[in-house]
Every structure is written in structure tokens, then in C-alpha cells.
Symmetry: C2
Subunit: 335 residues, 2 copies
């Protein structure tokens, strides 16, 4: 029998549950409105390492170890590690795995990686292929800027549509021991590209993908927006979130009162001068694994949709004049 409802939405019958979670963020993120929710705030964005790449690796390792601690599990009790990051060949994650003796499934979903890893992780737990696994991702402002845009030393001016890549990491332990919160449904995203080619306007490139996945989920399940306390996108930022709302309204779907975005939540729009908000794998990962999961645990949230979005271009495709394909994966999480 298929564990699916409608065309694209997966049902989890065995309550793949969130047993552990941990968030690590950089200095700037730690000065933002979610300050009190993060488990660890770095004073030094190099985290005592020689390079930003090594700092990024150390962040995700710290998040993974923290999530194991909250789950009261050792790394020997973790069957699988699912994750990836923004760097070429996902090196922040690959090099972290050298420190952990855990079988590894490497993923690339750009900034959607936190949701992607939880979707695949939930199927593996639900299908009986793992007892405990960890899903994790990370991003770092300094590694991302020099890889995707300009070297920091160049001091390029950021357009007003741009988002600030979050220095942060998050990790979630999924377990087959039924607890709260748990993952009830998931919708895997399609690649959507409406022709946006401005790498300083990622929100606009990703909004159509979020719209497609959200509409697919509600069409598949027949649920209503009123069933949810929050419909949280990954890192569309201010412009992207407005565009998503417009696209949904064009489809006669008004969920504005439920919508929020990790990229809009993580920085203070007025005081922190990030322009359109946060982005990067670490944005959705650190927000989910701090305020969101903690609020699901304490009951202040009871049923949410988490829709992390990713922009799937590279500097090579940008230089070759290509537009930006995007994707969004969705999870329903309940307490």
C-alpha cells in the first residue's frame, strides 16, 4: 500500500519524532530578535579556526553533537547522518563527517537542505530503515559571499533586494521512539524556474517554488490553513514573502495571516541593515531548531508547516547567463 495522499504528499504512519535539536549561530544572528532561543552564539565567526570553511564545519559538528546531547544519544546510536550545505561539493558537511563514525547520505538542496534532510529522514525512520538519525545543515556568511558573489575584501555594495547569508547551523535528531513533536506529512518539491536571473534577488527566484509546493500540499490533503498555527517558509526574505503571498492570492489562496519566513524572523529589519533578511542553509536550520521546535515542545505551537526553499544555481550558470531554478520541500510538524 502506498504511504501517500494525493499526487505528491507522503504520509508517515509511525510518527517519526524529533528526539533532539540544537542551533548554533554567529555574532550578528545572536544580536537579532531570536537571541534567547539559540543554543549557542559564537563570539568569533571564525570559531577559533584558520579558515571560514573550517569554522563552518565546526559549527555543524557542534550542532550535531548538541542535538545528540538533547536526545541523550551517543553518535554510536545514530544510524545515519543526512545533510549537506552550500559550499562547492558540500565540503563543510563532508569534512565534519570525518569526525563522526556515522553512515552518511549527502544531500544538495541549497537553502532547502534542512527540510530535504527531514523529508528523507522521516521516510527512513517510518519505513523501518533506521532507529535514530541526524539531519543537519550549515551556512556561513563569509564562505558563501566569496563563493557566490564577491570576495569580502572587495567591499561590494549590496543591492536592496539582497539577503544576508546566515552564519549558523542546525541539527535535528529523528527517532522511531514516539515523542513530541513529530512529522506527519511531507511534500517533495519540484524545480521551478520562472526566469529570474538576479543573484541578488533570491527571494523572487524561490517564491514560485514555495507557492507550487504549498498549493500541492493543500490540494493533496484537503486540509485548510485554519488547521495550522504557522506556515513557515525557509528564507524567502521580505520581497520573496510578499511575492509568495501575491502568487498564492492569484491562485485564490489567502494564507497571509498564517505566513512567516525564517529569513524575516532572524534579523531585525530596522536595526540590523540586512536589507531583505536572512538566507542560507543555516537560516531555516537555526530557526527551526530553536524557536520553532522549542515552541512545539512547550505547546505554544501545535501544528505547523515548514517549507524550506532553495535556489539551485551556481556562479558558473550565472556567468553563462542562466536563470535561477528553485525548489521548496514541505513538512507538517505536530506536537
Amino acid at each position: 500500500m502506498l504511504n501517500r495522499i494525493g499526487k505528491r504528499t507522503l504520509i508517515f504512519k509511525n510518527r517519526p519524532s524529533i528526539g533532539g535539536y540544537f542551533s548554533v549561530v554567529g555574532n550578528k544572528e545572536g544580536e537579532g530578535p531570536l537571541n534567547e532561543w539559540f543554543d549557542r552564539i559564537l563570539e568569533d565567526d571564525k570559531f577559533g579556526e584558520e579558515s571560514w570553511e573550517k569554522a563552518e564545519s565546526k559549527m555543524v559538528l557542534t550542532a550535531v553533537n548538541g542535538s545528540l546531547e538533547t536526545a541523550t544519544l551517543t553518535s554510536g546510536e545514530i544510524d545515519l547522518y543526512l545533510g549537506g550545505d552550500l559550499l562547492n561539493q558540500c565540503i563543510a558537511t563532508n569534512y565534519t563527517l570525518r569526525e563522526l563514525e556515522i553512515p552518511f547520505i549527502g544531500l544538495y538542496g541549497a537553502c532547502s537542505t534542512m527540510a530535504e534532510s527531514l523529508v528523507v529522514g522521516a521516510t527512513l525512520i517510518d519505513g523501518g530503515f533506521a532507529q535514530n538519525l541526524v539531519c543537519a545543515t550549515t551556512s556561513h556568511f563569509c564562505t558563501a559571499e566569496r563563493q557566490f558573489r564577491y570576495p569580502l575584501e572587495y567591499g561590494g555594495q549590496r543591492p536592496l533586494t539582497s539577503q544576508w547569508t546566515v552564519t549558523g547551523a542546525g541539527a535535528t535528531v529523528l527517532t522511531n521512539k514516539s515523542t513530541s513533536p513529530y512529522i506527519a506529512y511531507a511534500t517533495v518539491g519540484k524545480v521551478i524556474d520562472l526566469g529570474i536571473s538576479d543573484v541578488n534577488n533570491m527571494g523572487a527566484a524561490m517564491a514560485p517554488a514555495a507557492c507550487d509546493t504549498i498549493l500541492a500540499f493543500f490540494a493533496d490533503t484537503g486540509f485548510s490553513k485554519d488547521d495550522y498555527d504557522l506556515i513557515l517558509t525557509g528564507d524567502l526574505g521580505k520581497i520573496g514573502l510578499e511575492m509568495l503571498n501575491k502568487l498564492l492570492l492569484d491562485n485564490d489562496f489567502d494564507i497571509k495571516d498564517k505566513l512567516n519566513d525564517c529569513g524575516c524572523m532572524i534579523f531585525d529589519d530596522k536595526k540590523q541593515d540586512t536589507h531583505c533578511g536572512g538566507s542560507g542553509c543555516g537560516c531555516a536550520a537555526s530557526v527551526l531548531n530553536s524557536t520553532i521546535i522549542k515552541s512545539l515542545k512547550d505547546g505554544s505551537l501545535s501544528r505547523i508547516l515548514f517549507v524550506a526553499t532553495g535556489a539551485l544555481m551556481s556562479p558558473t550558470t550565472t556567468q553563462q547567463g542562466e536563470s535561477i531554478p528553485a525548489i521548496a520541500h514541505l513538512l507538517e510538524i505536530r506536537n
Copy 2:
């Protein structure tokens, strides 16, 4: 109940089956010993496109469409696409997905991607999360050389330990309709790094990972090498395969008479001057989806292990003096 045997090996009880398969290779690969097995051999490695990256995208799209045809399925009947490639941010695959309306799970496992996608795909079919899905990957000599080593125009001399990145793609359709061949077991790899830092000796970097996964599989299952017609590694090449054999012998495990390697099979060692053989995601993908699956279908092979290996470094980590982490994922395929 857990669908697992031993510590790391997954059991598939519902016969996730290979319903379709297709291989595309470049000119040089088409002149090699597997010439008659490939479904499509390109005359022009640019495949009529403006750039090598676009040619690589078109190769994997051709392989996917070919695999759907052999499975007599339309893209609308495919629930999921699992795959990735070697390029930064997996762009060959991401851009292909724009042409296909299929929900997408992006993977990064370097040259292990064909096996990684089949491992995840088999769990999704077996767990009832998909009816049909496609697993695919690709690599291109020209995109890989300029990204990982030198621009082709530089004309750098290749050391004798180096392998030749295969221009090729392969795609496999997995289905829940029981047919032959099918996937019986899988072992997910761990990241292993014994300190090799020479990017022109990838076989040496990857052999310890292959050794770890093969030993884990036999320890978990208690099977013997005599149960198998062939134990096929992904792209260790000549030196890597010799090293794997030595490492296995150090563990009192003699399977030399069963071992072969896709990188050793795809080129003619004497005539084609590739030094240590083939490598790249497309190497294991095109060999598996041609001679191997066809031989399983016609009964000349009946039970094999397919162990694709991947080297998980990037030019950035190489320049920062890091060694090369590697991984190997294993599948048992039966007819």
C-alpha cells in the same frame, strides 16, 4: 520492526525492481571495450550545445528519458527523481529538472551518486513512498577537468596515477512492480579519510572507503564471496583496485577473483592512454546501466554487489592543504 541486518545493512522486503535503464557516453568512452553495450554514443562531446555544462545536462536528460522509455513509463508516472552530479551546486542535474515536472531529491555523493541514489530510491519504493522513481547521474570530462584540476587549454600533463573523468550519464527506473533484476540489500557508506591529499590519485583516496563498506556488508549479512558472480566497485581505477585488494587481504578477506571496477572496464588500458582508468559519476552510472543491468536481465549475471565510490573534496579544500575524504555505498542486485 527494523528492516536492517547487522549494524548497517538495509534489507528490502518488497523487491524494489529495476524497470528501466539507459546509458549515454561520449566519443572516447564509445571507442572503449564496452562499445556495444551503451545505448547512445555521442559523436560530439558538446552534444550540440553552447557549453560543456549544458551538454552534461542534456546527457542526463537523454539518459532519464531513455530509462523511462525502456520502462514504458511517462514522466508523469514518475513520483520522484533522485540524483546529482560533480559540478558545483550539482547544476547539471538541477538544470535538467527544469525540463521535467518531477519532484526532486538532490543528492551529493561525488562519484558514488549512482549507488547513493539507488540506496535512497530503494528505501522509498520499499517503504511505500513511491511507485516509480528515477535515479540518475552524469559527469563530463571537460567540465570536471576545468573545475577540479586545470582549464583544458592549459594542457597540463596528467600524472600516471590519474584517472580520466568519464563523459557519460546513466539512469535507472526503480519500480514497486516486481520484476528482474531487483535490489535486495544496501549498505550506506561512512566517510573515511586516511590522509591522501593528491587529487591526481583518487583511487588511493577511495579504496579505504570501499574496503570499509564491503567488510561491513559481509559482517552484517554473513554471506560469502562465493554467493556472488561479481563485486563491482565504482571508479577506483587500476591503482585503487589494487589497493582495495591489499586492504581486504590485510583483513584476511580474499575476494580478488570476484572484484572488478567500472573505471577499469570502461577504457582499454593498453590502447586508450587514460592511465589508471575512468572516474566520475558517469563512469559507474554508464557501466551499471549498460553491461551490468543487461547481463543481469539476460541471466549471464545473477547476483552482484555494486559499490560506487566517491571522493568528497573540493578545489578549495585542496588549496587549503586538506586531505581527501571518501565514501562508498553498496547495493546487492539480483536477477
